[in-house]
């Protein structure tokens, strides 16, 4: 639970100095693309903030988002976020269970009325009265409605919560919906990703604590600091795209030389995320650097984008329409490559159909 002392005072008792705040804030300012001078303001804001009550609701999800946050690579810095918040309810991490757990949630809501933050991972089933996912006898929709009633803000973590994710994929048997459809006019932050980058989660929470407001968001409620650019924009293979050098298969000469993976289905041009800059596992790598195209896992409908290995312009749904504003219009080389890839795929399909017919 929260208490009246500031974070600075509470952590001081544990031997954590203001220097640690300054260092953490310099790190945060850097990853959130804030000017270095914002580091001092962040440190001061965090030190003077009260411990933030957080209620974490897990609905139709896989717990990957929690894993991402709790197993972040830089524990001495990233773990500070757990000193800054009071995680009053979280299925995976809390010791309490059953009625005791539900009582802890309601107690936190009462004690921190109007000030607590609700973090949600997972989508919410709405079909057949929402019976496909229930907790303590409550449907996910009812629990969400009750819990956000007096919340200061809602943070939808992961693509399932932000955009529906896997449960929302066609044919969406549970009638899953993203959190945005159920929160009304509550302030909402979407931190999509499957899972999201841990720095995006901790950075957003720290910004909220330090400045008392949510960071600047885009039109899909994503923090611009982490989702302001596409993977393609910041991809180290981008120069190969510009030169029209594309891998045609995962084991050809182009793949070995690290050429662009656009023709192998990379969705980088429409994927707004920070993987190409922050990377994973402590800045070690990200999917494209490991030789695989981007799935655009932080984008709406990423499961239904017409095949992970189809080039963008081969897709037949919203993802392809999004592309008009993304890569193809501004890059004739890319568009030509997509056309050629499509033609190659058509030829391969025709060849395989002919072979099948010959066999029969």
């Amino acid at each position: 639970m929260t208490n009246s002392r500031t974070l600075g005072q509470q952590l001081q008792q544990k031997g954590i100095s203001k220097r640690a705040f300054l260092k953490y804030s310099a790190y945060l300012a850097s990853i959130m693309a804030l000017p270095p001078s914002a580091g001092s303001a962040l440190a001061s804001g965090l030190a003077n903030a009260r411990r933030q009550a957080v209620i974490w609701l897990s609905f139709q999800e896989c717990t990957g988002c929690t894993e991402s946050l709790t197993r972040s690579y830089s524990p001495t810095l990233e773990d500070l976020i757990f000193d800054f918040i009071s995680l009053d309810y979280h299925h995976t991490l809390q010791a309490a269970s059953g009625e005791a757990a539900e009582n802890a949630r309601r107690q936190s809501m009462q004690e921190n009325k109007g000030n607590y933050i609700v973090v949600v991972d997972g989508s919410v089933p709405t079909k057949d009265g929402g019976v496909y996912s229930m907790i303590a006898g409550q449907t996910n929709a009812d629990m969400l409605r009750e819990t956000i009633e007096d919340a200061a803000a809602v943070i939808a973590v992961g693509t399932c919560a932000a955009f529906g994710g896997l449960p929302f994929a066609n044919p969406n048997p549970t009638g899953a919906v993203p959190i945005s459809e159920l929160v009304g006019d509550k302030p909402l932050v979407n931190i999509p990703g499957c899972p999201p980058i841990p720095e995006a989660m901790s950075g957003t929470l720290a910004h909220l604590l330090a400045f008392g407001k949510i960071p600047v968001l885009d039109d899909r409620h994503r923090p611009k600091a982490f989702y302001g650019e596409t993977i393609h924009d910041r991809c180290y293979r981008r120069p190969f795209y510009e030169k029209g050098l594309f891998a045609k298969s995962f084991d050809d000469e182009g793949a070995r030389k690290g050429w662009c993976l656009y023709e192998l289905g990379c969705k980088g041009p429409i994927a707004y995320n920070a993987c190409a800059t922050l990377k994973w596992n402590g800045g070690t790598s990200y999917p494209i650097q490991s030789g695989h195209g981007c799935f655009a896992c932080a984008s709406p409908n990423f499961w239904d984008q017409g095949g992970f290995y189809n080039p963008l312009s081969s897709a037949t749904n919203d993802m392809a329409r999004n592309l008009v504003g993304a890569a193809v219009t501004g890059a004739a080389v890319g568009a030509g490559a997509a056309f050629l890839a499509r033609r190659r795929q058509d030829r391969q399909l025709a060849a395989s159909q002919n072979k099948a017919e010959d066999t029969s």
């Binding site: 544990k14 220097r19 310099a26 270095p36 180290y236 402590g282 030789g291």
Partner: protein, 149 residues
């Protein structure tokens, strides 16, 4: 495979000079002017700039090495080095695993992280009183030792 991919990094190569150093030197000159006239400095986040290794080495070389060097053990090692230009400091923060999490050049009389904060000093005074009165020694929670000191 991975080495082949990494070796295929696009230009500019790490050995290329991009011209960024000249721009940074001009910005530092402006910040130093500001520090002299108004007492207010500033900082440049080096990790936000597309610098090559050659750029970084050239910048270090042009700024030189000054009189003060400090190492802090706060949630990992931090190294602070005054450059040969008084008031310009090269600051490099690492996490507990030695990963660089922030690198910046600060223009200031002394980087704030080097100074003991007044709140910490007040708390330390209470601790010292307790140590004197009880004849005990300073205890640090092992769970936070890596973060605190």
């Amino acid at each position: 495979m991975t080495s082949l991919i990494n070796n295929a990094l696009p230009s500019p190569a790490e050995t290329d000079l991009t011209g960024l150093v000249d721009a940074i030197m001009q910005e530092l000159a402006g910040l130093l002017d500001q520090l002299v006239t108004s007492g207010e400095g500033g900082a440049i986040d080096l990790r936000s700039l597309p610098m090559t290794a050659a750029d970084r080495n050239a910048l270090k070389s042009r700024l030189g090495t000054g009189e003060v060097e400090a190492t802090l053990n706060v949630a990992g090692i931090s190294r602070i080095q005054e450059t040969g230009i008084f008031g310009i400091w090269w600051i490099r923060h690492e996490d507990a695993d030695g990963r660089v999490v922030n690198e910046q050049i600060a223009v200031t009389q002394i980087p704030a992280i080097l100074m003991a904060h007044s709140d910490d000093i007040a708390f330390a005074r209470e601790q010292l009183t307790l140590i004197i009165e009880t004849g005990s020694k300073l205890e640090i929670d092992p769970a936070v030792q890596g973060i605190a000191r």
